[in-house]
Amino acid sequence: MTGKRPRSFYVLAAFFSLFLLFLYGPTLTIAILSFQGPQGGLTFPMRGVSTHWFRDLFEQQAVGDIWGSFARSLVLGLMVMVTTVVVSVMGGLAFRKRFAGSSVIFYLVITSLVIPSILISLGVGLIFSQSGLNVHWSTSGYGSQLTWTLPFGLLIMFAVFNRFDPSFEEAARDQGASNWQTVRHVVLPIIAPSLIGVALFGFTLSYDEFARTLLTAGSYNTLPLEIYGMTTNVTTPVIFALGTLTTVFSLLVIAVFLCAVWVQARRRARLGSDAGKGMV
């Protein structure tokens, strides 16, 4: 696989570039269009360039409760993120023990992944309404979103533990570490970079989730629900401005997580092994 690149490389590279254009083109287009002049419409041509539509977002009456829904989505995303990381790690550790009945849980996880989202929404909504409880984004919405983020977290943990060398744990136990010490000082540090990945999935999947929160969020909307509402009654570029802002926010979140992975990798490379430096 060395030397001059075959012609197929250039064909495939062109295909790949087109794919990237296909992936990012529309998003870039609405980013440009969100800077429409005040007279501009939902499509080209641009009628001047302004930040008019972004300013509109900050006026309550123009677009409804955008900032409230953003705050709710943010808090909910963090709640789901923390829960997803903790529960996925515990679940991942549990599945390594191959306990009796683990395959039942495994198939439930797969079901949770493949079940149409609207069924979760409908089922949870029905349970709450029939038992006289009020649906709320922090209770029913939170639980419904977990059925979407946990399967991803667990699949990542499966992938991690498939590649995990158990001799590290055996070494720790041979040195007299307790179960908890082994997990805390050996297993968790080794799997830490993947946990950042699980956290990223937990937060972004929750932040963007729509179908599972549709009937379970109650009277206070999350941001995707608010945006969905806008698609039916807003016909100005203000929706593009909102789309651009929330995409920029998502990109920032992704960048933070990627930076965290990068910093951790560098720290690891710099500090290297602490063998022979005494008890941790």
């Binding site: 609405i30 080209f44 306990f99 079940i115 639980g143 946990l150 498939n162 963007d208 945006i227 789309g243």
Partner: protein, 316 residues
């Protein structure tokens, strides 16, 4: 106890508690209990099981129960009747909507598979440095972490009557009048599906391809196989698990969707998800539940078939 190597413990014929007294004995018993992998496994899996029970199993049970209930215009009442199913299976709408759903799933599957496989193949076998592989792979996955709804909305300026596609085609002289079928049609629905879900093919296929032993490909070349023969006889068979996992994602996401179809077809086409969400909007929960049960059964059946070809836990 902490100083004893843990693995020695099972070999002792009788556990000897150090010191006397009930508490120490109880502590040792507790530790022995924790060594039982079934018990500690269930304890660790308890939070997961609780979430799945409350927000997956119970909702499914509730939907099945309510699918036998009755409804008036304003409320639903408990009953045990098959009216909802009878209506569902005798209405011609059901069959055309299910057909539509399968059609969307099949067409989207073909396109996402072709595009996803090509992209993953390029990344895995043609990009040579690991750094570039990771960078380009990340570039492919980033949109997955952004909002689907925004990504759908972003097609409007492209496909609309006065959108980029139409104005470009007119300026090139390909067409004289704007094409009406670009937006709010089956075409735009499938385009959006492919746009949203190709990532779900790229990631597992790329993952499997990266695990293929490169010497197998060298061996194929050494034995005189052409690039195409290597692709069809070595790479594709070895990539099958990744293809299966990607297919599971794409098929279930498309079959369970309602928002993409509603939005991109301008409410002109329907799939099963929309049938359910329309019933919900009309507060006809029992009829929505009956449709949901049939949809769930269909999806699980398809997944069960696909899972026969792949052991997900091994392939991750």
């Amino acid at each position: 106890m902490g100083f004893f190597p843990f693995r020695v413990v099972p070999y002792r014929p009788f556990p000897v508690p150090r010191g006397r007294g009930y508490t120490i004995r109880a502590g040792a018993q507790m530790r022995n209990l924790m060594k039982n992998r079934h018990l500690s496994g269930w304890l660790l899996a308890a939070p997961l099981s609780v979430v799945l029970l409350c927000f997956l199993v119970l909702p499914i049970v509730m939907i099945v129960v309510v699918s036998f209930w009755g409804a008036t215009e304003f409320s639903i009442y408990p009953a045990f009747q098959f009216d909802n199913y009878q209506f569902l299976f005798t209405s011609p709408v059901t069959y055309s909507v299910f057909f539509n759903t399968f059609k969307y799933a099949a067409i989207t599957w073909v396109f996402t598979l072709l595009i996803g496989f090509t992209v993953a193949y390029f990344l895995a076998f043609h990009v040579r440095s690991l750094t570039w592989q990771i960078a380009l792979f990340l570039l492919c996955t980033i949109p997955f972490w952004t909002s689907n709804i925004i990504r759908m909305i972003s097609w409007i300026p492209f496909l609309g009557r006065n959108g980029l596609a139409n104005s470009t085609l007119i300026s090139w002289g390909v067409i004289d009048e704007p094409l009406e079928w670009l937006l709010f049609s089956d075409f735009s629905v499938i385009l959006a599906f492919v746009h949203l879900y190709t990532l779900f093919m790229v990631v597992p296929i790329f993952n499997t391809m990266m695990r293929i032993d490169r010497s197998l490909i060298e061996a194929a070349y050494d034995n005189g196989a052409s690039g195409f023969q290597t692709l069809t006889n070595v790479i594709i068979p070895l990539t099958k698990p990744g293809i299966m996992i990607g297919s599971i994602f794409v098929v279930t996401l498309v079959m369970g969707d309602f928002i993409t179809v509603r939005f991109m077809s301008g409410s002109q086409s329907a799939n099963v998800g929309r049938l359910i969400s329309n019933d919900i909007a009309l507060l006809q929960y029992p009829s929505a539940a009956a449709t949901a049960v049939v949809l769930l059964a269909t999806v699980l059946l398809i997944i069960a078939v696909l899972l026969r070809f792949v052991d997900i836990r091994k392939e991750l």
